[in-house]
């Protein structure tokens, strides 16, 4: 009884110590990894041992040392400083892109699922067509279509991530809305004479929150890989901004001379995605959802 009152009176007791001890293991490990990444990113945005574009900080390709934990690249830039500065860029791009995709996809999906009929039919066909274009091809084609003026701008990367995610999120949101639309409280709201927007955002959205939260977390896990892949192929953020995928691609020809310049940033990227994946796994178990990898 006391448990129930505590939870209803203070939503934020959710993160209390009692709750922490009963949360699934993967969620905890994931949350800790993500926290470390966020703190590292905040730190890196304000201070790095060397400037991220500063050349000649030491002997190029001299490998890992205490001064240069991730070694030095071809022109003597400190890879660790670049990695540290890049952390907040990777995180911010991932969050911004995923949020854009969530907002667009959720709005369209919930409306489509609730309204149904022709609107739903047309939306679903367009969504289907967008999903049929392999995501990397869609992303790259959009970047090319945006033209040289926008190429390499963070805004474009955020837009592209949102564009790739939106149709996939639309599908999930639509399925959830169709199920919720049959419930009594929606019928009651209709009888009260509420409008479409009011029903979608005040009745359906809160009840689809669990599904959408897991979806958000799942998409967020993949965003650093997508952004990294764009950078790796040379269509991402413009150099010398140290996005991790771009750094891996830049240092790849140093693989024989100084492998740490590739695997340092690689380890950072992989650990971030592992953190997101564990977090998603735990979150979906806590919320009673089952995420499908990929798709």
């Amino acid at each position: 009884m006391s448990m129930i009152t505590a939870r209803s009176s203070n939503r934020f007791a959710w993160f209390g110590t009692e709750r922490w001890s009963v949360t699934p293991g993967p969620f905890k490990v994931g949350a800790v990894i993500l926290l470390v990444h966020v703190l590292f990113a905040i730190g890196g945005a304000f201070w790095t041992p060397h400037g991220f574009a500063e050349m000649g900080t030491g002997l190029p390709l001299s490998g890992a040392s205490w001064q240069h934990p991730m070694g030095l690249d071809q022109i003597g830039r400190d890879v660790f400083s670049r990695f540290m500065y890049g952390a907040h860029i990777v995180l911010m791009l991932s969050f911004a892109g995923t949020i854009l995709g969530m907002v667009a996809g959720t709005t369209l999906g919930l409306l489509s699922g609730y309204i149904g009929g022709w609107f739903d039919e047309i939306t679903q066909r367009i969504v289907e067509a967008m999903i049929s274009i392999p995501f990397l091809a869609l992303a790259l084609v959009t970047i090319i279509a945006a033209g040289p003026a926008l190429a390499g701008e963070p805004v474009l990367i955020v837009f592209v991530v949102g564009l790739v995610y939106a149709p996939r999120i639309t599908r999930i949101a639509r399925a959830a809305a169709m199920e919720i639309a049959t419930r009594e409280y929606v019928a009651v709201a209709e009888l009260r004479g509420e409008g479409i927007w009011s029903i979608v955002f005040r009745e359906i959205l809160p009840n689809a929150a669990n599904v959408l939260l897991v979806e958000f977390s799942l998409r967020l896990s993949y965003a650093p890989i997508l952004i990294g892949a764009l950078g790796f192929l040379g269509f991402g953020i413009r150099p010398p901004t140290p996005e991790w995928g771009l750094m891996i691609s830049e240092n790849r020809n140093l693989l024989i001379a100084s492998p740490v310049t590739v695997f340092g940033p690689g380890l950072g990227l992989a650990s971030l995605v592992i953190g997101f994946n564990l977090f998603t796994d735990g979150l979906s178990r806590m919320l009673g959802q089952r995420p499908v990898p990929g798709a």
């Binding site: 967008m130 274009i133 995501f135 084609v141 279509a145 040289p148 690689g266 994946n277 990898p293 990929g294």
Partner: protein, 317 residues
Amino acid sequence: MSIPRLLASRVLFSALTLFLVSILIFLILEALPGDVATRILGRDATAKALAVLRGQLHLDQPALVRYLHWLGDFLRGDLGVSIATGRSIADVLGPRIVNTLLLSLFAFTIYLVLALVPAIIQAVNRGKAVDNVISVITLLLLSLPDFLLATILLFLFAVAVPILPALATISEASTWQEMLRAMVLPAVTLAIMMAVYAIRVLRDSLIEVLRSDYVRLAELKGLRPRAVLFRHALPNAIVPALNVTALNLGFLIGGVVIVERVFSYPGFGTLLIDALQLRDIPLIKATVMISAAVYVGANLVADILAVLLQPRLRTSR
């Protein structure tokens, strides 16, 4: 719905989807506001170069006319001419597609082993240490970006222990042995990427099937465990994994692009990247259209196979 009608409606929907894809690609590449020629050549291009390119792309005609021309030619098998090389796109694409098909076939063979063996081990030993260890490894591999996995394998087997070539540059002059050796690293990378998605699903569905009544019955009949597993459980557990693989094909085509790029393999993926870098719009349109067709086609096949393979779907009508 009877099975032929079900299949016919699937085929029609796939065709409709591809039609919409063609409109989308055209809209993104050619109908955005602003001059296409300037976007391709950049702002510093001379007026003459712009005029030549506009002529090549027929930019003097309205967008709708250009779209219908392109679609008509495409359906008749005329993919147009590449701007960058001046060669017929069909000639450029043909060998690249063959190369990528060879690579995919090789990767798919490795994938079958990499997906089935761990999933069967997990399902048979569910809840034990082996199960958990394989789960952790799958999660780690699932979190590894494809370009990083490719780079790690390249480092391990071409740099640290140089037993395989780092570059998978094959040509018509290469012998079969050379080609196979060159394809090992890219194929293994692709196979691992595909397998990590399938293992989780296959394990869960296999465990579910092993708990079902007909598997119990088969066990009670006194069949050997191996016969129960391979003859009764596995065929029924494969369908969900098949669907996940088809749904993830979009990611896998992206993976092909990256893996071919890392190992400089002369396939479809490197062609797409080259076309994008050269802003060769006709070639981009053709490659993206074909990759979408592959995705839609594979999902259609997976749908049909699911109907034909799974007794539950076949009889419940």
